[in-house]
Amino acid sequence: MVWEIGLPLPFAASVHDHPTDAELSEACRRGNIRAFERLYQIHAPRMKSLAFHLLGSRADAEDSVQEAFLKVCRAARGFEGQSSFSTWVYRILINCCYDAIRKRQRLAESPVISDFRTESNVPLKVALQRALNLLNERQRMVFLLFEVEGLRHSEIATILEVPEGTSRSWLFEAKCQLKRLLTEAPK
């Protein structure tokens, strides 16, 4: 079995003759630093992107990815294999991002992207990025994982610890909400 989480094509090509999720998780459990490096090479680009969308800043995203990897390395020995290793890594990253958001709220910082306004003249990509910030937490998370980062519903369900049908339902809600926001008349 190859990595459970589907990879972006350019990345998948470089992973072709590399260990499976189980082999890599076993190597990481033994504390093999090369295995952690391989894990980083495979998942860091997508993890950075996800963290960026959750936190709104590349610097914060890098900090969260770093923290997540350190947590993974420290806790890998105790990984019990109830889910796939890669989905476990994403779950840790999401928790790190939530911690960063909570910390930011405690410090009364305003979100990096707090102002959203639909404008008829902005490209759809920009409008979409802004509209994403108006979604509720679960809708935005599922949308980011499925539509932006290309994870499957089965993987998202494992990461968020919800049934697969719930993941599909939240995605539909997210897209309906985005459609509504993007077709609304500018205020």
């Binding site: 350190l70 897209k175 309906c176």
Partner: protein, 216 residues
Amino acid sequence: MKFECGDLDRALANSELFQEAREHLKTCAACRREYRLWNEISTNARELHEEWDTPELWPTIRQTLEAERKPERLWWQQGKMWAIAATLVIAAGLSFFFWRRNVPVATAPSTQTTADFLTEQALREVEKSEAVYRDSIDKLSQLAAPKLAATSSPVIASEKERLALLDSAIAETRANVASNRFNIRLQTALADLYRQKQETLRELLTTNTKNNDTKN
């Protein structure tokens, strides 16, 4: 059921309803726009994936990990040295133990060979004695043979019959001994049969001699 603009969202979630939506989309420009937007959301979402180089990120993570592990590694290295030392001591102890244990074991084959040789030698001596004994008894038989053939008294006939029985038993026992030379019980039984035959012949010859003395 007539499909209306408000049904589009439900149709997007339900493939059965979507067949009806297709017909509606042909005639409704507003719904067509919404449907196009629905698809464009997914298309544009993929472009939201952010990629940027972070050449320092992994080295930083690695350095942090190595710094955290250093004390553990030193302890482990120390532990490893102790483990190697302990293994060597145990290996040396086991080697000595087995060497000591093997000393008598190493001499065992020669002892066994000697024992086998002695047994074989003893058996050969028994067989040699038996052969000498058998020859002696045969000589007695030859001496008794004219008397046995000439005399028709019931006592002699009885002795003659007994000797025949003993000869038959001796022949059978010798055959058994030939197939199992080391069976002491058979050897003893054979010796006993020879002894009985010898006794019988001796009595027979003695009786004749006594009879002759009485006659004289």
